[in-house]
């Protein structure tokens, strides 16, 4: 049972990384400045690297002989367990950077906590990923502040992105029996602990950016259970195109 729980847990981490990487890859060649083209593809690349390590570990836990590519490419939509936040379309640069900021502010304390996990492989992946994630959060926080405290237009766009994405943020802290099993065994942190840190980061950065936390607390979830938004099918069509069109081939 613990194996299954851990498999599910690692799969969620992998899917979050993969799907966000896929979205960021769409920016390639279209960024507002060359430096951001490089930054966004670099973050995408880091996330792909994390996804490979995480899927490898998940495959090992599952023990069915699947490899990272089979997990990444050959599941049905309802078998992907990423949060809805990461599959949301890029929108404008503000939407992409706010999505990134909300995610990074969650990922950093999560990885920091997982570095202490007695599950050695998970701790090792977290230790490697935490350095990258610290950079990602620095990058996205700086842009949130710049946009919020930049021009009237950038402020409006950043606020609009927050207002739109806010409904997807509570799902970051989703827990179910798998989490509870692992928490009881002392292998993973509680999401309440991560949320406290997320709240602190988000509050302080948005304040510095002169941006506001929405009053509307309408919450969306479903991703962790495999219920996605309409955007997900299109994202997977691109992602899986080659594997579906040319099955069982090596590339």
């Amino acid at each position: 049972m613990q194996e299954t729980a851990l498999f599910e847990y690692v799969l969620r981490l992998s899917d979050d990384s993969l799907i966000l990487a896929q979205r960021l890859g769409e920016w390639c060649g279209h960024g507002p400045i060359l430096e951001e083209d490089i930054a966004l593809t670099n973050i995408s690349l880091d996330l792909i690297g994390q996804a490979i390590s995480l899927y490898d570990f998940a495959a090992e836990l599952e023990g069915k002989g699947r490899n990272h590519d089979q997990l990444a490419y050959l599941r049905y939509e309802n078998e992907y367990k990423n949060v809805l936040l990461v599959e949301q379309p890029n929108g404008d640069f503000a939407m992409t950077l706010l999505r990134q900021f909300f995610f990074d502010a969650f990922r950093l304390p999560l990885y920091e906590a997982l570095m202490q996990s007695p599950v050695a492989q998970l701790a090792a992946i977290a230790a490697k990923s935490v350095k990258e994630t610290r950079y990602h959060l620095k990058h996205s926080s700086e842009w949130v502040i710049r946009m919020g405290d930049g021009t009237e237009e950038s402020h409006e766009r950043a606020q609009a992105a927050i207002d739109h994405l806010w409904r997807y943020t509570s799902e970051l802290f989703y827990e179910d029996t798998h989490d509870h099993t692992l928490q009881a065994a002392g292998q993973v942190p509680t999401m309440a602990a991560i949320q406290t840190k997320w709240n602190a980061t988000v509050t302080s950065i948005l304040q510095e950016a002169t941006l506001e936390i929405p009053k509307n607390n309408w919450k969306f979830d479903g991703g962790r259970e495999g219920r996605h938004s309409e955007h997900m099918g299109y994202l997977l069509s691109d992602l899986q195109y080659m594997q579906r069109a040319y099955p069982n081939m090596e590339w």
């Binding site: 279209h30 507002p32 400045i33 951001e36 995408s44 490979i52 404008d92 040319y246 590339w251």
Partner: protein, 312 residues
């Protein structure tokens, strides 16, 4: 010192292989030639991100996706160094990019051809980066210091790209018949455009003689094109791919491969804007710039605000 004396001293430096640096005196035409050539090279890197970027979301496995992302990111980096090299000659990045968008500046025509299949990505790495390297290795010794130094770093990364492209084609050519056919199809479409990358034939090239004298260029277009063909034939044989040229054959007397005349009509059509993707490529760059304007404005406004706060 008179202009004529300066020109003589300048040419002496070039002849003695002393690099020209940004603050050195240089003839206006030397400066203009470099701005034109380096910015064209920078634009090629940036526009070149588009056909490949188009496949990032569809790369067939995670490793290939990571390799492609890293490659395209390198290209953005090359664009940055090269725009900086142009800035050392007194032309801002903004101005250089505007020249691209108005159609005044050109970029390598190869990127006006579409990347239609996954095999195109490997083929671009192998043939397009391969052709680029032929040009660029020679440029590592070009007479203008900042350009030569940028080229050394760029060449290292480009040869890595070429090997990765080739390695990905080995996989296809040893794969299923469908994969092999995909690779051959890409070869058929990219071979001639790759040869066109070396530019017009020496007889037609307007800038060649002076550039060679100034050691901006070390070899002529035709010399580089021939070296590329000579180097590539054996690589194609290893892959088991057929080069789409019935006249391609080894010429013992010349010590080189003979090959058919390039379709220069197609070459000039694409240069003039009538290639399959010219409109789309430029439109994508212009759109990125226009849609990013508010982001750049925000960054500038923010930096000003912070500077004012500091000085207050």
């Amino acid at each position: 010192m008179t202009q004529a004396e300066q020109e003589i001293r300048f040419q002496e430096k070039i002849d003695r292989e002393i690099k020209i640096e940004p603050n050195d005196w240089m003839p206006d035409e030397y400066r203009q030639t470099l701005v034109r050539q380096i910015s064209q090279h920078a634009h090629s890197e940036i526009v070149g991100m588009l056909p490949e970027g188009n496949w990032i979301t569809r790369a067939p496995n995670l490793r290939r996706k990571a390799v492609l992302l890293a490659k395209v990111q390198d290209e953005a980096g090359h664009g940055l160094y090269l725009y900086s090299a142009v800035e050392t000659l007194g032309t801002s990045r903004e101005q250089t990019i505007d020249d691209l968008h108005t159609g005044k500046a050109k970029y390598s025509s190869i990127f006006n051809y579409p990347a239609l299949t996954w095999a195109d990505i490997g083929t671009i790495g192998w043939l397009v980066d391969g052709a680029a390297i032929m040009n660029q290795v020679a440029l590592c010794r070009t007479s203008y210091g900042p350009y030569a130094r940028a080229m050394v770093k760029i060449c290292k990364e480009e040869s890595f790209h070429q090997r990765q492209g080739y390695e990905s084609l080995i996989k296809l050519c040893n794969g299923t018949p469908q994969q092999k056919a995909m690779a051959q199809d890409a070869m058929n479409r990219f071979w001639w455009p790759a040869l066109m990358m070396f530019g017009p034939s020496d007889a037609e090239s307007t800038h060649s003689d002076q550039s060679i004298k100034w050691k901006i260029k070390r070899f002529t277009n035709d010399e580089l094109r021939q070296s590329f063909v000579d180097a590539t034939v054996a690589q194609a044989e290893i892959l088991g791919l057929t080069i789409p040229d019935p006249n391609l054959k080894w010429n013992e007397a010349r010590g080189h491969y003979d090959f058919s005349e390039i379709n220069w009509d197609e070459f000039w059509q694409v240069v003039k804007g009538n290639g399959p993707c010219n409109k789309e490529r430029l439109a994508a760059r212009v759109k990125a710039k226009e849609e990013g304007a508010w982001v750049r404005d925000a960054a500038t406004a923010f930096a000003k605000k912070r500077a004012m706060k500091k000085s207050a």
